[in-house]
């Protein structure tokens, strides 16, 4: 049969199913755990740990299919190394928080976080092709598959991307992978925020192969990726039209990795310097002019993702983001809030509750991790 990478008699899987069934019978809370590298993110952790570490391994990888399938507890590093050997990668550049090799594939999908290439390449859910998930009734369900085009039934596997584990356990996932670009070059230039946003827009309009961008403290950096000739001519154009200077490869790689894994001094220094402040992620249409918010700021995704270290009240950030057509969420905070996300509308909240009920009727998985009422 298709996709049988785990026979139902697999003891690791059976044990997980037993744990879920037992929790359901007692309506006892479970916290789904991969590498624990994103414990800081989202609502507080509650319940007995459901460890996924033993559910690991790449189930199949066929480079010519551009698809990799791995069990939920597989270290992200292991997947990335397997892909790199064949000149492929996860184009959405998921962050690798914490010590090297801890983050897991399941956690990556459940958190739904993407890195610098997000605006150009797409987000986590755009690359999910299928998943085996364990629902709150202890049923192992497979949705989607290992092929790019698939419209059989509802696309339930993609719903799990960014679900923060509230719907079930991601036991196995198939992801679309892409070849690493033939050529990547980065540039930098000094400018203020408004100028940076305008420049990013003009580059987008000119259809330059911008794959990533970052503006912080008066410096704008951009990465161009694609065919060698295309990158070369775009680079020439940028040099001619602006004061952009080429960024040396090592420095560039360090910079983009720093944004991706949040080891950049913006993320680290903000953490140490102002203990009162929280790190906010403000997601708005890229074309928004500078927002009326103060604090340390870093802009990514061509303007669509704006990070703020600020102690401004949540209502203020949410209000500004909403007026710009976006939303604001607490990413890192000393004091854990129960409402890290912007609330959804009443009809959407009803759908959220009903979806949770349909997948996890006893409400055992990751209580309060996404919204306090879920």
């Amino acid at each position: 049969m298709n996709h049988v990478s785990n026979p139902p008699t697999d003891p690791t899987v059976e044990r997980l199913i037993e744990q879920v069934r037992a929790a359901q019978a007692d309506a006892a809370a479970l916290q789904i755990r991969g590498g624990g590298t994103k414990d800081f993110y989202g609502g507080a952790l509650t319940g007995k740990p459901l460890e996924l570490g033993a559910l690991r391994g790449i189930s199949s990888y066929e480079p010519t299919e551009m698809v990799i399938t791995a069990r939920g507890g597989t270290p992200l590093l292991e997947m990335e190394e397997a892909l790199a050997e064949r000149g492929q990668h996860l184009a959405f550049e998921p962050p690798r928080f914490g010590a090297r090799g801890q983050a897991t594939v399941g956690g990556m999908v459940a958190a739904g976080l993407a890195g610098p290439a997000r605006a150009a390449a797409g987000g986590v859910r755009d690359f999910v092709l299928g998943a085996c998930v364990l629902n709150g009734r202890g049923e192992m369900l497979r949705f989607g598959g290992q092929v790019v085009k698939n419209v059989a039934g509802y696309d339930v596997s993609r719903l799990f991307a960014g679900s923060m584990g509230v719907l079930g356990v991601i036991c196995e996932v198939s992801l679309k992978v892409l070849p690493v670009a033939a050529s990547c070059e980065s540039v930098e230039l000094g400018c203020n925020q408004a100028q940076a946003l305008r420049l990013l827009q003009s580059w987008t309009r000119a259809a330059l192969p911008i794959n990533a961008s970052g503006w912080c403290a008066g410096i704008l950096r951009a990465r161009l990726c694609g065919a060698a000739t295309a990158v070369r001519s775009a680079l020439q154009r940028l040099k001619n039209e602006s004061a952009a200077g080429l960024l040396e490869q090592d420095l560039a790689q360090g910079y983009w990795a720093g944004l991706r894994d949040q080891t950049d001094k913006f993320f680290v220094a903000g953490n140490d310097g102002t203990p009162q402040a929280s790190l906010w992620r403000v997601s708005v249409p890229a074309t928004c002019p500078p927002l009326d918010l103060s604090g340390q700021i870093l802009i990514e995704w061509g303007g669509a993702q704006r990070w703020y270290w600020t102690d401004a009240p949540a209502e203020r950030l949410r209000d500004v983001a909403a007026r710009a057509g976006g939303h604001a969420s607490v990413f890192r905070s000393q004091a854990r809030t129960t409402d890290f996300l912007t609330p959804v509308s009443a009809p959407l909240e009803r759908i959220h509750r009903a979806l949770k009920q349909s997948l996890d009727p006893a409400g055992i998985f990751n209580r309060g991790r996404l919204y306090p009422w879920m």
Partner: protein, 500 residues
């Protein structure tokens, strides 16, 4: 098909009374002329692109505004009347087939382009806007809407969202899902909801991928914000001949292995090439066992570089003949046969049934050999076109619908293809949707708990199951009947195999 109740006067009377009740209620919320119920007026709505299935709707509602859509839905919800949303009716799986006692909600009049934003590279349009009309409106800004289903001249963006439509360019540019940022929709209760946003994400669960491709069963889409793509400066196409389907299939794998993502990568087998050549006279190589079309688009430099790399790979992969389009006219000629594969098949056979399964590319040759054997087994011919880059097959089974036995054999042939696709790790539908056509095949692809979970997800959006009921997700009962039939024929030895 809508008349079985005619034998039963009570059922007919009940239906007539129900129709009067629904009409009276909807007359409060819609203007005159926006409601159809006479058979001669509703006949155009009896089927979609899958014309073998027909059903007269109780009533057709043609709202012109979102507010009217909301009121029609709320009214139907109060009365417990099923609602089938409909765009242009070009769907190929019967997704817009009317419900016998339901309202067909035609959204064709919501056809305004609300905004083209060349800076954000987005278009916000009402659901009834045609796919191609978006690209036409964006063209002055050097932009276009990338997903290009072959019905793009007629099909609407609302229908594209319902089906998660693809097209020949989706290997490089993605499906509808990847090109939609935001959807405004109404629940069956008539409440407005938004999925996604004009930013790159929205708070909470990501419901957008659930709604895209849900075949009108979760909510009624009224407005869509799509991402626009810069029109490439140049596109060139390679037409390569192969002396066996295996080498052509292997060439596809070599292209991908070389790290190339072509703008289009399409394959036609010999019977299909013969049919289209006779139709379009494009100069296809009639001696080839298979023809591969491989396209590159982008800047002049990019295309030059990529075409050379593609040419090298294809030559090494054993292409027996290779031509690169020298100009736009020649490129369009290369494509003319592929784009006309369906009408060309219509010329060589009274009827054809188009399948739509997707398989992992590496099984392409295996699948084609299996189809060859099926041609003998069922005594019917089959021509093949497919989106080789993403493994999406469109075998066209040729038959004569006037011959009941041929129709029957054709259905068995189709089911066999779908089940073989599932067995080798594929899916029963890549882009046409399940609708009513592939309900039985869903029993093969999904376990009962998977199907029950999907039905439970439907109820999370639509508790009374009024939106397009009976489509896409088969009930346990239906699958049990289908399973019995199959076990009886001995075709489904793996029906009860547990799967992880």
């Amino acid at each position: 098909m809508d008349t079985p109740a005619q034998d039963d006067p009570h059922a007919v009377a009940a239906l007539v009374a129900r129709q009067a009740e629904v009409l009276a209620a909807l007359a409060h919320v819609l203007p005159r002329g926006a409601l159809l119920h006479r058979r001669e007026d509703t006949v155009a709505y009896e089927c979609d692109g899958l014309t073998a299935y027909r059903q007269a709707p109780l009533v057709v509602a043609l709202p012109e505004t979102e507010a009217q859509v909301a009121e029609v839905l709320a009214t139907c919800n109060d009365l417990g009347v099923p609602v089938v949303a409909r765009g242009a009716g070009t769907g190929l799986s019967g997704g817009a087939l009317p419900h016998r006692s339901g309202v067909t909600l035609s959204l064709a009049r919501l056809n305004r382009i609300l905004q083209i934003d060349p800076v954000a590279r987005t278009a916000t349009v009402q659901c009834g806007v045609r796919n191609l009309a978006i690209s036409e409106a964006a063209a002055p800004y050097g932009l276009y809407y990338a997903p290009d289903p072959s019905s793009q001249i007629a099909c609407t963006i609302g229908g594209n969202v319902a089906e998660n439509s693809g097209g020949v360019h989706c290997l490089k540019y993605g499906l509808t899902l990847h090109n939609v940022l935001r959807i405004k929709a109404y629940t069956i209760a008539g409440e407005a909801v938004e999925f996604g946003s004009e930013a790159l994400d929205a708070p909470g669960l990501d419901l957008l991928p659930l709604v895209v491709g849900s075949e009108g069963m979760l909510a009624v889409v009224t407005e869509v914000t799509v991402r626009l793509t810069p029109s490439p400066q140049l596109a060139r196409c390679i037409m390569a001949s192969f002396d066996s389907i295996e080498t052509a299939g292997a060439a596809v794998a070599h292209i991908i292995a070389a790290g190339i993502i072509p703008a289009g990568l399409e394959l036609m087998d010999r019977p299909m090439v013969a049919a289209v050549e006779d139709f379009v006279h494009a100069g296809y190589d009639l001696r080839a066992a298979a023809i591969l079309l491989c396209e590159s688009d982008g800047t002049i430099e990019e295309v030059g570089e990529e075409i050379e790399r593609m040419r090298n790979v294809l030559e090494r992969a054993g292409a027996t003949k290779l031509e690169v389009s020298a100009d736009e006219a020649q490129r369009l000629r290369f494509w003319s046969g592929r784009k006309n594969a369906f009408p060309a098949s219509g010329r060589i056979s009274p009827d054809y049934m188009c399948m739509d399964s997707t398989i992992p590319r590496r099984h392409l040759a295996h699948m084609l050999r299996a189809i060859e054997l099926m041609e003998k087994k069922y005594g019917l011919r089959c021509a093949n076109v497919f989106h080789a880059g993403d493994g999406n097959l469109h075998p066209l089974i040729l038959f004569d619908a006037n011959d009941a036995d041929q129709l029957h054999r054709c259905e068995l042939f189709g089911a066999d293809i779908l089940e073989t696709s599932v067995r080798i790790g594929g899916t029963v539908t890549g882009e046409h949707g399940v609708g009513v056509e592939k309900l039985n095949s869903m029993c093969v692809q999904f376990s009962s708990s998977e199907r029950e979970q999907m039905l439970a997800i439907k109820r999370a959006f639509d508790p009374a199951e009024l939106l397009n009921p009976g489509k896409t997700i088969p009930t346990l009962h239906r699958c049990a009947e289908y399973g019995k039939m199959h076990v009886h024929r001995g075709l489904l030895p793996f029906a009860d195999l547990a799967r992880f």
